[in-house]
Amino acid sequence: MTTVNAPKINEYKEATRVERVGAQSHIRGLGLDGDLEPRNISQGMVGQKKARKAAGIILNTIRAGKIAGRSILIAGQPGTGKTAIAMGIAKALGNDIPFTAMAGSEIFSLQMSKTESLTQAFRRSIGVRIKEETEIVEGEVVEIEIDKSATSGAKTGKITLKTTEMETIYDLGAKMIESITKEKISSGDVITIDKVSGRISKLGRSFAKASEFDALGPQTRHVQCPEGEIEKRKEVVHTVTLHEIDVINSRQKGFLDLFSGDTGEIDPEIRDQIDSKVAEWKEEGKADIVPGVLFIDEVHMLDIECFSFLNRALESDKAPIVILATNRGITNIRGTNYKGPHGLPIDLLDRCLIIQTEPYNEAEIRSILEIRCEEEDVEMTEEAKEVLTKIGVDTTLRYSIQLITTANLVAQKRKSNEVDVEDVRRVYSMFIDHVRSTQYLRDHQAEYMFDEYQKQTQKMQVE
């Protein structure tokens, strides 16, 4: 273990802010072209063309914003891209349209009733676009100074901003320093900081600094140095969700509760007041209602009470588009003694458009693995990819994806930058998939604790 290199690696990581890679982080959109035709491999999505095309049509329905309260059910076997499609829709919609993702089980909370959870989820998915005056700080960056205290490790910093008429120095708090480092703000950038929300936007680079030799990205814009005062009030278009407005109005310290996450039940009277106020704003032209998307994964976990609630809620004219996903077949409908397709009652299914996802073929699995390798920053030889694809076909897609980073760690241990077949074989033998696990259990059942079979044999021996 070489400790000499360790400090350097830490510094590098801080400078570029490596973020943890999630299971769906490679999805950037639905990968459709102008005519809504899905490209085979695009924006992180592979294959699954029928489902993606259907999703594209839904996307346009959402964007048009004219039709409320549609529901879509994405159904398919495990590992067929249901959550990925929902992610694709979310990314394609962008930041302006509220997208709330939740799992069916999240409804069951000790702090609030199921209907309250669902109502909050619905209201989180309806946005109100308001023009607001906020205080902003706008100027060209003259210099940024960030110091790290030797004793406490806490960071302090100063930033000097200027306009054509004046200069000001600001002291920076820890979060601001983080944002500045993340956005890679440097001298010569023209930036805006929203004083209330703390958000920083880079407007571009100052013309005055254009002559210097900087390695500029392709999207760099050049702008004028701002004029006048650094602190201004500007009108900004702001999208808040109905839920946020509910919370702020429901109690004194409501605003702070938004961050602590503890909102509890909200009085329905307040909700009515908010609804009428928002309708008023709409009439006066002060605000726009933006219905967004509510995505409920594992929807078979909801019970019959929730389903009845959903039926009713979908009928409101402000309802968001609801996307449900499940991998169950004909299953018990929770809260009843009946079975239903996908674990949902037929009257809810009737309100849904159903998109089916199918298992991937070998070529598609190969492409997905290649995309994940890139996303997880892993180099792999062609042969290793072949073997991994075969594993994916024989076992499951998810299992083979999980082998990518583990095989990479094994490869690094033998000081190689590239994953080869032997590494894949090694992790394949170290970590078993559920098929082999089940087989193993069948063979060695007797050796496990609390085994029924064992008890029976013991009983027989005693007798």
């Binding site: 109100v128 308001i130 607001e132 005056e133 205080e135 700080v137 100063k158 200027k162 306009t163 054509t164 008429e165 004046m166 200069e167 000001t168 120095i169 600001y170 002291d171 920076l172 708090g173 820890a174 979060k175 601001m176 900081i193 004083k195 209330v196 703390g198 006048g228 005062e229 602190e231 009030r233 702001h238 808040v240 946020e244 407005i245 702020i248 109005n249 605003f255 908010i274 106020k277």
Partner: protein
């Protein structure tokens, strides 16, 4: 955060007014129909206006006090705060003038330029070395619908402080005189800390 030029600092309908003695000062609370508030603090003895602050109620975010006269308390926890090396702009009137002081200005005297922007009804402080710039209006004048006049702005620079003055027009002097009379009447009752007073306006 000092006052800015917009409806934020206007009266909305007839306010409910109450006054109380608090912290050694006379505090007058105005509550308006839309639930926004105005708080003024006067010195008990000479009735000088020490603070005036407004709060507008917003449905979508936390409301904050905006200080028209006097200094807002500095939020030490704020992520972005003005470094204490910057000039500080404060309003503190004298009986005859609206007065604004900018402390911590270290540039030479001849650098400062004052003018009235008649279009936006603001006073502008410029510096020829492009280090300090400030635009501000006088809300009292706005509320009384009086116009700022070029040439009436005067300034003095000493002790690293720039003092900008604008004379109060008769209409405003009248009103302030009336307020002082009213407060003198209250003072005759020898008020103590916590006393509530009835105010008519």
């Amino acid at each position: 955060m000092q006052s800015q030029n917009n409806q934020y600092l206007q009266f909305v309908g007839k306010p409910h007014i109450s006054a109380v003695i608090a912290g050694g000062r006379r505090r007058v609370n105005y509550t308006f129909e839309d639930k926004s508030e105005l708080v003024e603090e006067y010195d008990i003895n000479n009735h000088e206006l020490i603070t005036r602050k407004w709060k507008r109620v917003s449905n979508i975010k936390e409301s904050q006090w905006v200080y028209e006269v006097g200094e807002a308390p500095i939020d030490q926890q704020s992520e972005l705060k003005l470094s204490n090396t910057n000039p500080i702009f404060v309003r503190k009137d004298t009986p005859q003038h609206f007065q604004y002081r900018v402390r911590n200005l270290t540039y030479p005297e001849d650098v400062y330029q004052m003018e009235v922007d008649e279009k936006t009804q603001e006073i502008v402080i410029r510096t020829t070395n492009k280090k300090y710039y400030k635009r501000f209006s006088i809300p009292d004048m706005r509320r009384a619908n009086l116009k700022l006049e070029q040439g009436k702005v005067t300034h003095v620079y000493k002790n690293n402080t720039l003092i900008v003055s604008y004379p109060k027009p008769d209409q405003i002097l009248e009103r302030e005189y009336q307020i002082r009379q009213e407060f003198d009447k209250f003072n005759k009752k020898k008020p103590k800390e916590g006393d509530l007073e009835c105010v008519q306006q």
